[in-house]
Symmetry: C2
Subunit: 102 residues, 2 copies
DNA sequence: TGACTTTATGTCAAATATGATATATTTTTA
DNA sequence: TAAAAATATATCATATTTGACATAAAGTCA
C-alpha cells in the first residue's frame, strides 16, 4: 500500500489528482484516495447546508474541530470510518449508503 | 462511543440486531454498526461471485486470510476502510460508491 | 481598524486496526 | 470415510487513527 508515498508528497506540498502515473498507485488505491477526497467534500457541503460550524459538528460526533477541518481538507490521516460517521451524523441514512454500494 | 459495549456482548455470544434499546446505542451508532455488517455480507457475496477464496482475496489486497474471515463475519475490529478497500478490489467503482452516498 | 468567530495546521499520547502467525473448525472432494 | 482445502478464531507487535490541545491564519462585522 503505497499511499504513504502520496502522504509524504502531499505533506511536501504536492497537489494530488493528476499525478496518477507519476506516483505508482494501483487503480484501487487511486479510487480509495479519490473516494476519500470526494467524501470530504460532501461532508463539507452537508455541514454547511445545515449551517453548522466545524466545532458544532465535532460536538455532535464527539470529535474535535481540528479533525473536522482536516477531514474537509482531505487530509490523508482521516479514515473512511470518520468520514462516513460524519455523513451518518449529518443525516445520511445507512440504507442510502448501502443501496449504492451493492 | 459505546460500541465497545456491543463488542463485549458480541464476544460473549450475544446476537446483535434487535437489542437496540437494550444497548444504549445512538441511532448513528446503530447505523454505523449495521452499515459495517451489511458491507461485510456484500464483500462475501462479491468474493464468492468471483470464485475467490479468502486467501486469494487477501493476496489481492495484501491483507491476510484471517482478516478477510473476520471481515465477512462482521467482526467489530474490522474498519470501514478495510471493507471498502475490499469492495474496490472486488470491482466496485469509486463512482458507484459515491453516487449512493450523496 | 480591531475584536471576534471560524477554520486551518501541527503535535502527541492513547486507542484502535493492522498483517502475521498459529491453530482449530468446517466444508469439499476423492 | 479420510485427506485436503477453505474458513474461523485467537493472539500479538507494529502501524495508523484518534481526540485533545495549542496556535496560526482567515474571515466577519462593529
Amino acid at each position: 500500500m503505497n499511499i504513504k508515498k502520496r502522504k509524504k508528497l502531499e505533506k511536501k506540498g504536492w497537489k494530488v489528482g493528476s499525478v496518477e502515473e507519476f506516483l505508482q498507485l494501483s487503480p484501487e488505491e487511486m479510487q480509495y484516495v479519490e473516494l476519500k477526497i470526494s467524501l470530504s467534500k460532501i461532508v463539507q457541503e452537508k455541514r454547511q447546508q445545515k449551517k453548522l460550524t466545524q466545532q458544532q459538528l465535532a460536538n455532535l460526533m464527539k470529535s474535535s474541530q481540528s479533525r473536522i477541518a482536516k477531514m474537509e481538507a482531505g487530509d490523508p490521516s482521516v479514515s473512511l470510518d470518520l468520514l462516513i460517521r460524519s455523513l451518518l451524523v449529518l443525516g445520511n441514512s445507512q440504507k442510502n449508503i448501502i443501496r449504492r454500494l451493492v
